[in-house]
């Protein structure tokens, strides 16, 4: 690594940044010296998640909370086995948290800052698929281990392959494939579908996956209307009327955050839920917030076996309780996904370090991470796709039921789908896979 040349750069800078730069350099020097002295090694992790904008509330903040919890628990060694050793391969975690807002140019800049200025050892982050796509090539350029924990687009590892990049969250295809399978099984009489999705990549891709899956599973199903309101629109009166006029048997929406909540409130008031199956493919984060506002019978996904879909286990029980105790709210899927990323990192580091008693090199960690299988609160995650860099996991879909007595949201008729049933095999692109009628899918 070359040292940043502080003296030559400093004349270009106003005073405050100079001080910060000097501070950063000192930190870097001390980190370098510290690791030489072999006392309490540190692992500096850059965390990138939405702290502002519409995605902060439903995803960004719960993810940051989970990161906070995991850092503390890992450093103290309070995570249940097999993660009960202190630190990551003996190194204590330090974090730098960055807001994911501001667009891709900004995020590429901040990623470079994390690696080159803050000198982090690895980066965990990114909810927006656009940010993931933009940052991915930079991980190669800067040769820095980077974990995408949430973003959904399958394009990352389907269009390219990476050495330093891993994604511990399954990509978005399985959300809608599982949902379509669920509906095909539980609502066989349905003859028409309609879509209401936000007009951006996530909404468009979700609807395309769902529509193609439904058409593959139930050939001849008709499409009543495909609505794409603007992201953040907030008012859905006309869209709801269009749905009421069209009378679809199934309504698919991948809405999230305030848009989802606003839509549920407005749609419920106008009886959209009364005569049809409504699928909220990313609805899980809203259930604790909306409670009884979501009508019973609504079909909800959590983008994996997270949250209420996570099966009881020592890890899951610990995670739910620790999270609830600390933040007074149950963890939602973004929290689970952040926790999974941390556990994946810990598992990979410790596999690489096995027996050496030293913090492993990045190369060793990468080697250990590829095709890794590790236990998480959401069950087993396997780095099976993208030459061992892209995770797959099981998925679950359930029907919502609000337990009035307990004042708690619950799911009934939950169906679990094995990872191989809802994810394409290695080397097959998602869209082609769905169109082929899920060729090679292994369902039980």
């Amino acid at each position: 690594m070359t040292m940043p040349n502080v003296i030559s750069a400093s004349f270009l800078l106003p005073k405050r940044p100079v001080r910060a730069l000097v501070a950063a350099t000192l930190a870097l020097l001390s980190a370098a010296l510290g690791s030489q002295a072999q006392e309490a090694p540190k692992l500096k992790i850059g965390i990138v998640t939405f702290l502002s904008g519409g995605a902060a509330g439903p995803f960004g903040i719960p993810a940051r909370n989970a990161a906070e919890l995991m850092v503390e628990a890992i450093n103290n060694g309070t995570v249940p086995a097999p993660y009960n050793s202190k630190g990551i391969a003996g190194a204590l975690i330090q974090t730098v948290v960055i807001d994911e807002a501001g667009g891709t140019t900004k995020q590429v800049t901040e990623y470079r800052n994390l690696v080159q200025r803050e000198n982090v050892d690895l980066v965990i982050g990114y909810i927006s698929s656009g940010d993931c796509l933009a940052v991915a090539p930079v991980t190669e350029e800067l040769k820095k281990l980077t974990i995408f924990f949430d973003c959904g687009t399958p394009r990352i590892f389907e269009d390219a392959s990476y050495t330093y990049l891993f994604r511990t969250g399954p990509h978005g295809t399985m959300d809608n494939v599982a949902a379509a399978r669920y509906l095909a099984e539980t609502a066989p009489q349905a003859k028409s579908i309609a879509g209401l999705n936000q007009n951006y990549a996530w909404g468009q891709d979700s609807w395309a996956d769902f529509r193609l899956s439904m058409q593959a599973l139930k050939p001849g199903i008709s499409i009543v209307t495909e609505q794409f309101p603007k992201l953040g629109a907030g008012q859905y009166g006309a869209e709801i009327s269009a749905l009421l006029v069209g009378k679809p048997d199934i309504l698919h929406t991948s809405f999230w955050g305030a848009d989802l909540e606003g839509f549920v409130l407005q749609a419920r008031a106008r009886g959209v839920f009364d005569a049809r199956k409504v699928l909220l493919s990313a609805g899980e984060p809203a259930i604790f917030r909306l409670g009884a506002q979501i009508p019973d019978g609504t079909i909800i996904g959590a983008r994996g076996t997270h949250g209420l879909f996570a099966k009881p286990s020592a890890l899951n029980d610990w995670f739910r309780k620790a999270y609830y105790d600390r933040f007074a709210t149950p963890p939602i899927y973004a929290s689970y996904k952040m926790a999974i990323a941390f556990l994946g990192v810990k598992a990979a580091y410790e596999k690489a370090a096995a027996g050496t008693g030293k913090v492993p090199t990045q190369e060793a960690v990468i080697k250990a991470f590829e095709f890794l299988e590790f236990e998480t609160p959401s069950g087993k995650i396997r780095m099976a796709l993208g030459k061992g860099h892209q995770a797959i996991g099981d998925n679950a879909i359930g029907t919502y039921k609000f337990d009035k007595a307990a004042g708690q949201p619950t799911f009934v008729d939950v169906k679990y789908y094995a990872a191989e049933c809802v994810n394409p095999p290695e080397g097959v692109k998602s869209e082609a896979w769905i169109k082929s009628g899920f060729k090679g899918a292994k369902c039980n």
Binding site: V96, G103, T104, T109, E118, G130, L133, P137
Partner: protein, 316 residues
């Protein structure tokens, strides 16, 4: 005489200094400077319009067009030469501006601002609708070649920096020359009194049209360079908040000199990156407050710090 020597020598020294600094800077700072230079071109393009009294809230249109032209140039036309991509961005932005210019040069003040915003949002909508272009996720660009040389890793970053700095300097110098010419100074005249300009025998719309196309070409260059530097493009480049940010930086910079946009752009990027790092939850507040303070205490923008004497009479 001292004047001409300074006029030629100082920019040249600055340029050499910047290139040298580019090689010595740490990578992150080089990247921020690079982005600041590329965005500085867009701010420069706004300055050109502002001098003629027009404020565009839709410069993201040309920033986005330049970026997408470069991006599609690599991925569709398989052009790999950075200079060719830059030319492509400039040409596409300029061509679109030439067409839209026939309509937009009829508008002034807030109507010009809003109509340009509308056009940028139509581009944004088209890009969001284009799933072939990745919708809001956008797509990636591979590292281009520079004058036929394929650099990799750090060498490519250096080459990109030299390219961007050269383009920025060339653009600034040419624009400086232009602004001092009759054609260029017509902007100020138009801002002050269009009727007189027409009655002196010059075409106001014609002059504005030329400025509008030039401005779009500069913004297109900024977009193409940003795209190549970031390696990724998405429709946010054309979103109105992006355009708003450019207007903000233009006001922050001041319109006193062609160097001001680059200085302002760099200061803005630094403020924002440190606000991101040290105040991740309230960085918008830091940016907003900075803006208010600059507007209140530095009416001429940051550039006023460099003016030797204050203006004696300000406009009412």
């Amino acid at each position: 005489m001292r004047g001409p020597a300074v006029a030629i020598g100082l920019p040249f020294l600055l340029f050499c200094g910047l290139i040298a600094a580019g090689f010595l800077m740490p990578g992150w700072l080089r990247f921020i400077t690079l982005i600041a230079l590329a965005k500085g071109l867009v701010v420069l393009s706004l300055m050109l319009l502002m001098r003629a009294g027009l404020v565009s809230f839709g410069q993201g249109l040309y920033y986005g067009l330049g970026a997408y032209a470069a991006g599609l140039g690599v991925n569709l036309l398989k052009v790999t030469e950075a200079l060719a991509l830059l030319a492509l961005g400039v040409a596409v932005a300029g061509a679109v501006a030439w067409v839209l210019g026939f309509l937009l040069t009829r508008y002034r003040e807030i109507f010009f601002a809003m109509l340009s915003l509308a056009f940028s949002m139509i581009l944004y909508g088209l890009l969001v609708k284009s799933s072939a272009l990745g919708s809001t996720d956008g797509f990636n660009l591979p590292t281009p070649t520079f004058l036929g040389f394929a650099f990799a890793g750090t060498a490519a970053r250096h080459a990109l920096f030299v390219l961007t700095a050269s383009v920025a300097f060339a653009a600034a110098l040419l624009l400086h020359r232009y602004l001092g010419s009759t054609r260029g100074y017509l902007g100020e005249a138009i801002r002050e009194n269009e009727i007189r300009v027409e009655y002196l025998g010059a075409s106001v719309r014609g002059a504005l049209h030329v400025k509008y196309v030039l401005s779009a070409a500069l913004a297109g260059a900024g977009g193409a360079l940003t795209a190549v530097a970031t390696g990724h493009i998405d429709p946010d480049l054309a979103y109105w908040t992006t355009s708003g940010e450019f207007v903000f930086v233009a006001i922050l910079s001041g319109t006193g000199s062609v160097a001001a946009p680059f200085l302002g752009s760099f200061v803005f990027e630094m403020i924002r990156t440190y606000a991101f790092a040290y105040s991740p939850n309230t960085w918008q507040m830091v940016v907003g407050a900075t803006m208010l303070l600059v507007i209140i205490f530095m009416p001429g923008g940051l550039w006023s710090l460099f003016r030797r004497r204050p203006r004696l009479v300000t406009r009412s």
